[in-house]
Symmetry: C3
Subunit: 261 residues, 3 copies
């Protein structure tokens, strides 16, 4: 089967992002690079109309406010009604009470297709924080168990990113190990992945395939960029170049799937 | 006559931008690159004072909110009172009711010097949308007719950007065909042009000359950047470099004027 | 004594930035580059909790609103209570009444560790504007006198940046002359320095040492970047690379201290 990036490039899906102020520019440029059409719109007065127009919706709470959470719920409901996929990125959930409560509010009112976060965020969202203290550290935690438990608790498809990426959808699991540590030096690398996921979900009904193709595409583009540039400013520029330039056949050659579905 | 970029570089006009969150950073860096002084200020409490200090004002509704539209009107009125040029960029007008109504509110209360948008936006603003369906596509629409009709309806100078750029001021038309498709891969390329236009309007009373010099300068800088870099991340960096570096004599050599005033 | 950049890299201090919308992305990437961990959070509902978690707090009024100033005060008080250093960046103070009053409000309610601004901003903040008209120009003003007077009036440690940087803490003064004019072509160069200062303050109690090491590190990274790239787009990318890459021993070799403490 051909890689879904071809569908993204052909269909140029419109991705409506309600995202944080830090990463808006990088997200828009990253979406353009993969061939999608980004739109950012945050006002409660228009997000419903915009989400209904879009081919996928991204809700990201990186710099949330009460008003923005209200708008996210309006947009999310409109997307649900239109049958449009919704990606939720719970940035920093668990760090403050407000973030945790806002994330819960969104999940209660919006049916999300997929949640993308790091292990700490997913654990916090699922109420499993105690289990995974220091999870970004030594790797002494069983990430697969966390993924399975969080998936069961939340009842949503998950993309848990880290040194390895765990993708889980209706009990089926894919583990990928593409990517590069320089991504952790670029602000919004996780946020952009959430929006890239949305673009892939916009062109297929096969959620696990969309997640697999998006995450592997993203990781291999990062590897190629790190091959070109070893310092973070130049790496970021090259990463956008690679997101634009990466070919299907190269992905098939470079994908590192630890476990397939 | 020497190119107005020299005046921009010499006078370093202060450009007050009330613009969208996606492009603020790129806009500020682009304005610095051409030699202007950007300032961003959005609060209703201060925009009047800031607009009165500035040499030109840009109103861009890319990520509008009700509060921001109120601030735009306060700033626009202060600019009008001070005789300061105002550029309006109706990003995405027509996509949602809120955008369309907000754009109308602004145009009713602020006298703008120039509107910059793509054909779809300008058509929507002038109530001509039906005429130009698919306007960004095959080029089967007579863009010059659209420009003339919109100019008459709106009563404002227009810069309509696309594969060709149509500039129209008090019935006089200039058509330019500089620029490069990679600009469509960089978020905010249109928004930055609106701010660059403002910088050129700040240094002359000759509106058509300002529009011509700004649009040709911008397009030739993009061509030079595309000569250096063919991928969008690197292109964007090179574009800022070229906006800084482009020489008057090179513009005169490279300008492609399909029709002059 | 080893350079404090080593401590920043080792401890990866969490820097909470309430900053302007223009520079958020650049600030976050710059903080990652030096080895710190940026977090941006602006909502009144969470800034207190976030500031208490952080190792330093930055308050920057570049695109202030009433609501944001309220949030800054909440965060500032939480930082004060926790004994966390606070850097204040009074962007554009003096340009509008709202900016001036907001800056005063913040300084009345929050005990800041250090203020970073250019001569005009510091003079305005200290009510010394009349003395320093045209201060960014010919250098006919005695900057050291301004620094001393502002330090006495404000009772706060100061970093006054310009062609020379004056650092003053409890009456002790350090003057540095590293840096490069291309920094003035990159939006947020001053704002990022304020956040870098916060990262250095987070790893020591020696305020003057933190200020000296942060400002010299920043300036030398800019010099190295300007050595690599002479145009502003490429310079900005290279500057992030250099902030990541600069070695302690190189700083000791390149620091230009006009006067030490």
């Amino acid at each position: 089967m051909s890689h879904l990036i071809e569908e993204v490039r052909k269909n140029q899906p419109l991705i409506h992002n309600i995202t944080n102020q830090v990463v808006m520019n990088f997200t828009a440029n990253g979406l353009y690079a993969i061939g999608a059409s980004p739109v950012m719109a945050n006002a409660k007065e228009e997000v419903g109309e915009m989400a209904a127009l879009a081919n996928a919706l991204v809700l990201n709470i990186g710099t949330l406010t009460d008003m923005q959470v209200d708008a996210m719920i309006v947009a999310g409901k409109a997307a649900n009604q239109a049958g449009t996929p919704v990606v939720f990125d719970p940035v920093g959930v668990g760090a403050t009470t407000f973030r945790t409560q806002s994330a819960q509010r969104i999940l209660e009112q919006v049916k999300v297709t997929c949640i993308r976060g790091n292990a700490g965020e997913i654990a916090s969202l699922a109420g499993l924080s105690a289990t995974v203290r220091g999870v970004d550290g030594a790797g002494d935690v069983d990430m697969e168990t966390l993924a399975a438990q969080a998936h069961q608790k939340l009842g949503v498809s998950l993309v848990i990113t880290g040194a390895q990426d765990i993708l889980i959808h209706r009990g089926e699991k894919v583990i990928l190990s593409n990517g590069h540590p320089l991504l952790t030096k670029v602000t919004g690398a996780g946020c952009l992945l959430s929006s890239v996921l949305a673009a892939f979900l916009a062109v297929t009904d096969d959620v696990l395939q969309a997640m697999t193709d998006a995450v592997s595409y993203y990781g291999i583009a990062a590897e190629n960029a790190a091959n070109e540039q070893q310092l973070p400013g130049s790496f970021q520029v090259s990463f956008i170049d690679q997101l634009y330039n990466l070919k299907s056949e190269e992905i098939n050659r470079k994908i590192r799937m630890i476990r397939g579905a």
